[in-house]
Symmetry: C2
Subunit: 241 residues, 2 copies
DNA sequence: TTATGATCTTTACATCGTAAAGATATCAGT
DNA sequence: ACTGATATCTTTACGATGTAAAGATCATAA
């Protein structure tokens, strides 16, 4: 496993010494694409970088998600992302927005299953954890990273949508309409209770902090059973209890 | 705010050009300390580095906690910590162990207050969050960092002690003795429920994910009230409910 | 056709973690 | 008390990273 300099030595398309040779050869291209060659300004690097970033994140985890690694993955120079995202925080925040949108999709799908609000809630909780387990890097990006600029419009909106989904789902369980702009203490508590429970469980699970507990449970008992048992005692209590 | 090279230009004690001048001057020291001068091999750098690391963590946060910054803070060369902790993971893990011990102390103190198990539980939950708010960097080190080697004996033991305290406190609430080596599903669920709730709440709070909810609560309602309301509905339910 | 601006590359620099070699002090064995 | 072995600390070196700035290249509007 050679530790030699990876910088631009890897799978760069090589793009033929882009000096004046290429300038003569490629001058005045007929269309937006040079015949069977790499595109000039890449077409849509913004999207390409985000897709590359997602691949890097899934492959190498949060620690591997660097500006330069993303640039390598996309086959551009290491400074190219700067122009599109400003800095690492920018790229990471845009990617987190994508993560929130994926997550919201999954939540909507999960909310469609289940008859009673109770079942819907459980289905959503399971889907929540399933998403985090399927995309641990992305979940870490959304909730563990410190380099996240929540003021970025796309991220702000995606995260808000996510919260609104949660609030709506809680309102559904309580058979009441929730005005997000003004919450009663009880409503806020119900929302935060559900969120803290599932988010905390997810974090501890992904961090491996629950392995001991899981190993010490009766044989055959799964994570899912633990989750269900945990939720059973915490939410959806009969009123007046 | 000069961005000039901070490397060793800062508050290094200068220790007089430690070449052969110092060797002649300090040859054959009378005691373990040269008269009113810096110690030779520093005495106990291991502890000094950990204390320096804690200062750096509290001052500059998780992102500022680097091997070189710690070495600077302790007034030694940037490579000195390597010999004591192997690498950054080592230092960070030892520091996290200290954090867990501080945290355990706080939990024990909190558990002493309160009459009923119910009150004790609430006191512990409040102390949990209070610790995290008072030492956000340390809490992040203990629960957010990926560079943590849980197999290190000191960290493993401190974290286990912490878990044992939680388990014991849950057993207290349920009026039963908990055998950590073999948990029923209900017991595991109770433990994980409490942990997930408080840990999740803490994480969301520290990350600023709850500011919107807090702002939308009735005026005058505090974080503490939200926490209490959240816990009221989740734990310590009357049996058979 | 050409000039302007957007996009991408090169180059440069401070910082970081880590390895390796050199310097210095402690300590055991004689 | 001397000396060699060992532990501790410093210097030096290298690859990697984020970011800034300047140069090159291309699209597009005038």
């Amino acid at each position: 496993m050679a530790r030699l300099s990876k910088e631009n030595k890897a799978t760069r398309p090589v793009r033929a010494p882009t000096r004046r040779v290429a300038r003569v050869a490629a001058d005045r291209p007929a269309s937006r694409r040079r015949a069977n060659d790499t595109p000039y300004h890449h077409g849509d690097l913004h999207e390409a970088l985000l897709r590359a970033a997602e691949r890097v994140l899934e492959r190498d985890g949060l620690a591997g998600l660097t500006l330069r690694a993303v640039a390598r993955e996309a086959g551009v120079s290491h400074a190219a992302p700067t122009h599109h995202f400003g800095d690492l925080t920018g790229l990471v925040s845009e990617l987190a927005a994508i993560g929130f949108r994926q997550f919201n999709e999954a939540m909507i799908v999960a909310g469609a299953s289940g008859a009673t609000p109770n079942e819907k809630g459980l289905a959503r909780a399971k889907a929540y954890i399933a998403y985090a387990q399927a995309h641990p890097g992305m979940y870490g990006l959304m909730f563990r990273t410190e380099r996240l600029d929540m003021k970025r419009p796309s991220l702000h909106e995606a995260a808000n949508t996510s919260f609104a989904g949660l609030a709506g789902s809680i309102g559904e369980s309580r058979h009441e309409q929730i005005q997000e702009r003004a919450l009663s203490l009880d409503q806020a508590a119900a929302i935060v209770r559900a969120w803290s429970l599932v988010h905390g469980f997810t974090m501890l699970l992904l961090d491996g902090r629950l392995t001991d507990v899981l190993n010490r449970m009766p044989p055959g008992n799964t994570v899912e059973m633990l989750l269900e048992a945990m939720l059973r005692g915490a939410v959806n209590k009969p009123p007046g209890c």
